[in-house]
């Protein structure tokens, strides 16, 4: 490690705000880039699962109806 103390890491001889600002902004963009499609994928998968379940229930119900009529 180059720096002696943690406060030296934050300060970086006065350049700290610039360096850490640039890194935190990049981190934010990376988090958004990864999280947005992940959340979307989760929501869409959930919607498809719900739809499957609804269809299964509907198919079962119509099957029973059919059975009771005959």
């Amino acid at each position: 490690m180059y720096f002696q103390t943690w406060s030296a890491v934050w300060q970086m001889d006065g350049h700290g705000p610039y360096v850490w600002g640039a890194y935190s902004l990049t981190l934010l963009v990376i988090i958004i880039l990864i999280a947005v499609p992940l959340v979307r994928t989760r929501d869409l998968t959930r919607a498809i699962h719900n739809d499957e379940r609804r269809r299964a229930v509907a198919a079962e119900a119509s099957g029973k109806n059919h059975a009771s009529k005959t």
């Binding site: 490690m1 180059y2 610039y18 360096v19 902004l25 880039l33 990864i34």
Partner: protein, 243 residues
């Protein structure tokens, strides 16, 4: 070779491929980013002229490199979609433009932040920064065009044509901006002079460039997978894949 291209074009195959690739890439990319950042921020020695502010290079340069390469990848996808009418190439193009624009944005903002302690100004009309800004506009154009069409197939084709036109233009734009800059700036006050970079700075930089390429591939695959879930939400293959 052709069988791979053929397979790539099949949505079910691509969906399975994306699942596997994302599972591998996600931990590797995050690890590389963390290691590279710690290396660049804490371990590498400071630059003798710029002090510690140069540490921004470890995100600025990788973002810029990948953003530029990303435009060529997008144009290649466009060519594949126009010539071979590969469905997945359309999806890839829609996924690529926002990721490329985000990386260009990162390169621009980190460059601007870097400029403040180095040049004393947030924005300098330097040749590279200007070229980056124009690249950002090119990405925005593709995104706006893709949004403007209701018909998704037409949108993909239009974006393919635009990105190919852009690809032909990018080298001309870069060269002309270079000349423009040297025309208005005497060569002696050049800030972005090439200098040999020491190994202690080069290795973390190379690691970060690789990590950003991985990040690019990862985010594009993530977006493409989400896109597939929308487009094929009613198809049997996707339902059996998910159950």
């Amino acid at each position: 070779m052709w069988s791979i291209v053929h397979k790539m074009g099949s949505p079910p195959w691509f969906y399975r491929f994306a699942n596997v690739a994302i599972a591998w890439l996600l931990p590797i990319v995050l690890m590389a980013l963390v290691v590279g950042s710690i290396w660049g921020l804490l371990i590498a020695p400071p630059d003798y002229r710029q002090g510690n502010s140069y540490r921004i290079i470890f995100i600025h340069v990788p973002a810029a490199v990948v953003a530029l390469a990303g435009y060529y990848v997008m144009a290649t996808a466009g060519l594949m979609s126009l010539v071979w009418k590969i469905k997945m190439a359309d999806t890839a193009m829609r996924a690529l433009a926002p990721v490329g624009a985000a990386l260009t944005f990162v390169a621009l903002v980190t460059g601007s932040i870097w400029g403040k302690p180095t040049w004393g100004a947030w924005w300098v009309w330097d040749a590279r920064i200007t070229s980056m800004l124009i690249l950002f506009f090119l990405y925005l154009g593709v995104m706006a065009l893709s949004e403007a069409f209701d018909n998704k197939v037409a949108a993909a084709k239009a974006c393919a044509v635009l990105s190919l036109v852009g690809t032909v233009n990018i080298p001309i734009i870069y060269k002309s901006v270079d000349w423009w800059y040297s025309l208005h700036q005497p060569a002696s006050i050049k800030f972005t002079g090439e200098s040999a970079i020491d190994a202690s700075m080069l290795y973390p930089l190379l690691l970060m460039i690789v990590a950003f390429y991985g990040l690019f591939a990862l985010t594009v695959l993530l977006r493409m997978r989400a896109e597939l879930l929308i487009t094929y939400s009613q198809s049997a293959w996707l339902r059996s894949e998910l159950s």
